[in-house]
């Protein structure tokens, strides 16, 4: 079918990260697949660094509602200020393993309950992918047990959940913008932070003296592919189907490459002199227990029914 009159020449996709990351590759992949599958009726242009909102990634959803952004590929935690249910995957140890991620990706909790929340928030969710495990990394010592955190100044973003998690471990959470982090690490204003291994390597944080990484799988997130509702409705049903296929393919590839990278990180981390600590199941259970009060508190404040379903999906063998 030829492009309808209501189609725009270009649809704008926003994401906070830049080239060189799996996340960016996923978005670019999606844009390419959409153009291929719709015979270039739908052209998506990728704007990295949240440049459409001057880098203010927490304003992306508002900008989408105002028509400035058409496509969002991102974690809902960035928009959790806009919709509080979007914290659903940001609690500590929601995903203890890749198996748990797979279970959630296929669950009704995600594909029905959560997607309906996303629709109400103003956009059509098409597919979701894994973000990657987020680990605590610091310059002082190996973190195995809770008491290892004592006195560590850990940089967190200005959200209460991350601060309370660090306090639960006995560390001192310090908030600062990402722009200040590198300098703060080199001067010792902070001793560490939480990052995915990929981010750690891309931003070369080992040069700031970070040497100790614990594979605790503290957080993980899902990256969702979304289209603004008015834009979605302006497309023909055939094109909608093709765009959804493109998103599913891009999401699957993204999850696969996040995991492939995770396996190959060992060598890369060793090469830059980073000590990777693997926790025993007992040690990890202790970490989970320490953060349980924070988890329970924020589960209650976020959306207990939804999180119950997410837990059930993970715990079903």
């Amino acid at each position: 079918a030829p492009a309808l009159a209501s189609y725009k020449n270009e649809y704008r996709l926003s994401l906070p990260v830049g080239p060189g990351t799996t996340w960016y590759q996923g978005a670019e992949n999606f844009a390419r697949l959409v153009a291929e599958k719709t015979d270039k009726r739908i052209n998506i242009k990728v704007y990295p660094g949240s440049s459409l909102v001057q880098g203010a990634q927490d304003r992306e959803l508002t900008a989408l509602r105002q028509g400035l952004i058409d496509v969002l590929v991102g974690t809902t935690v960035n928009w959790s200020g806009t919709v509080k249910d979007f914290n659903a995957f940001s609690l500590p140890f929601t995903f203890p393993s890749e198996k748990a991620v797979d279970a959630v990706l296929q669950s009704d909790a995600l594909n029905q309950d959560f997607y309906n929340i996303v629709r109400k928030a103003g956009m059509e969710p098409l597919a979701s992918a894994e973000y990657g495990f987020i680990q605590p990394i610091n310059s002082k010592r190996d973190l195995r047990a809770e008491q290892d955190f004592k006195g560590l100044k850990m940089r967190v973003v200005a959200t209460p959940i991350q601060q309370e998690v660090m306090q639960a471990f006995g560390a001192n959470p310090t908030t600062m913008s990402f722009a200040d982090v590198q300098a703060a690490l080199s001067t010792g204003a902070v001793d560490g932070l939480t990052l995915t291994e990929e981010q750690f390597l891309v931003y070369k944080f080992h040069t700031a003296g970070l040497k100790h990484l614990t594979r605790a799988n503290l957080y993980n997130e899902l990256i969702h592919f979304n289209i603004a509702n008015p834009v979605w409705k302006s497309w023909s049903p055939e094109d909608q189907e093709k765009v959804r296929e493109a998103a599913k393919e891009a999401a699957e590839q993204m999850t696969a490459s996040v995991r492939a990278a995770y396996r190959s990180n060992d060598a890369a981390l060793k090469a830059v002199g980073v000590e990777v600590v693997e926790l025993t199941p007992e040690e990890q259970a202790a970490w989970i227990a320490a953060t349980r009060p924070v988890y329970d508190k924020w589960k209650k404040q976020t959306n207990p029914a939804l999180i119950d379903k997410i837990e059930a999906a993970i715990n079903t063998p």
Partner: protein, 433 residues
């Protein structure tokens, strides 16, 4: 087409004398509406989003704080004491007072974040004594105007605050450290024509008759001010505070000097001081907010790609391209103030810097040096303008003197370009790179 409209309408508006912030906003809004016909509300929401996001950045808090530091120390009596101390060191002889001015500007540059405020403060203290000593007023204005231009290089610097916010992967402490030696080098470069011109034209004939203060008491009096730069840079290095907080700590410390140590500031002076700093900050931050709408247009119209392709197609190599870009910045800086230049052009330069693989820290320092020259190059020269006002002379009258200082400052820039270690050594030793 739209990009031509964007730039031409902006230039037309500001040349006519429309304030820079409004010129940016109006030309950008027109382009947003034309490009946004198929968007809800013509895509105008970007006006509010961009304005909000550009100003609503926590690290930007450093900007009003460093301006406050400038406003406070202007009335803190620090400048007067610093001059006494410098005279005590340098001594009294024809040609020495201009060197005192430049020395004081360099040290106070370590407290002040903006050159114009510094020109006002030093001018207030120096103009009378330089006239008595027999220096012509236009010469005095030229020395003050050029010496305070180096302020943008010597940390703290509002120019670097803005640059680090706009340029990805550059940390403010690294930039601050990188500006230090180039700033000192520029100061020394300015001393050469200042001294040489004085001797050659027999300026400052009466200087020898002026009283010479004793060294030790002058040092004790000046010590509170001398410690400030150490506190700012040392505190950041020691991890006591972040760059954003360093600005706040500096403001509190300078307030303490003015109110408690030198007692030049009374409680009731505080409201006008704070109001003053607030207004100057607002003028700058309004430009920042409106420039964000402008750069949104540049970004969404895909303007940077053709520019990069053009620069790449010149096939002149990385070094020549760097020289071309710096010359363009220099030309623009002659007509526009440094912060406006940064806010309009840095977002466009990001991809070019990537393309050629230039070090963003070194590039920032070189760009800042080139911009500093613009701050005392007529016709539109902020620092020179302020210096002329204080010295009660005209910009036209400075024309015989200014070119020597421009050439000398430019030579210092070339030296840093040839030996980048002058800029990069300190941040590396401090562990910022």
């Amino acid at each position: 087409m739209l990009s031509v409209l964007l730039f031409v309408s902006f230039l037309a508006l500001i040349v006519l004398g429309i304030p820079v912030a409004l010129g940016l906003a109006v030309s950008a809004i027109v382009v947003v509406v034309i490009a946004g016909v198929d968007m809800p509300w013509f895509g105008l929401f970007t006006v509010q989003q961009s304005f909000d996001a550009a100003i609503g950045k926590y690290p930007l808090l450093a900007l009003p704080m460093f301006i406050l530091v400038g406003s406070v120390f202007d009335r803190s009596g620090v400048a007067q004491r610093m001059v006494h101390f410098a005279v005590a060191i340098v001594g009294r002889k024809p040609g020495k007072l201009p060197i005192v001015v430049i020395l004081v500007a360099m040290v106070l540059g370590g407290i002040s974040g903006s050159g114009a405020a510094l020109a006002a403060a030093i001018g207030g203290v120096m103009v009378a004594s330089m006239s008595r000593a027999g220096y012509p007023r236009p010469f005095t204005a030229t020395v003050i105007g050029s010496a305070t231009a180096a302020d943008i290089l010597i940390p703290p610097s509002i120019g670097f605050v803005i640059y680090s916010i706009l340029m990805p992967n550059t940390s403010l402490p690294a930039l601050f450290a990188a500006g230090m030696f180039p700033g000192i080098l520029a100061g020394i470069a300015l001393m050469v024509p200042a001294y040489w011109l004085s001797r050659r034209h027999g300026l400052g004939a009466n200087e020898g008759h002026e009283p010479k203060p004793a060294l030790w008491p002058a040092f004790k009096e000046a010590s509170w001010g001398l410690v400030t730069p150490v506190l700012i840079l040392g505190g950041m290095r020691a991890g006591w505070f972040t760059p954003t907080e360093a600005a706040v700590v500096a403001a509190v410390y300078v307030l303490f000097i003015g109110m408690v140590v030198h007692r030049t500031i009374r409680l009731r002076d505080l409201v006008p001081i704070f109001a003053d700093a607030m207004r100057i900050s607002a003028l700058i931050m309004a430009i920042l907010g409106m420039a964000a709408i402008f750069s949104y247009c540049v970004n969404t119209m895909g303007l940077t790609d053709p520019v990069i392709q053009w620069v790449a197609s010149l096939d002149i190599g990385s070094t020549m391209a760097l020289i071309v870009v710096l010359l363009i910045i220099a030309a623009i800086s002659v007509f526009l103030d440094g912060t406006s230049v940064l806010m309009i052009f840095v977002p466009m330069l990001v991809p070019i810097i990537h393309q050629f693989g230039w070090d963003p820290i070194l590039f920032g320092v070189l760009a800042m040096m080139v911009m500093a020259i613009g701050q005392f190059t007529p016709p539109m020269a902020m620092n020179l303008l302020v210096a002329c006002k204080v010295a009660k002379t005209s910009i036209e009258a400075t024309l015989p003197w200014v070119p020597w200082f421009i050439v000398s400052f430019a030579a210092a820039t070339v030296v840093v370009g040839i030996w980048p270690e002058i800029a990069l050594w300190l941040p590396r030793v401090l562990g910022y790179l």
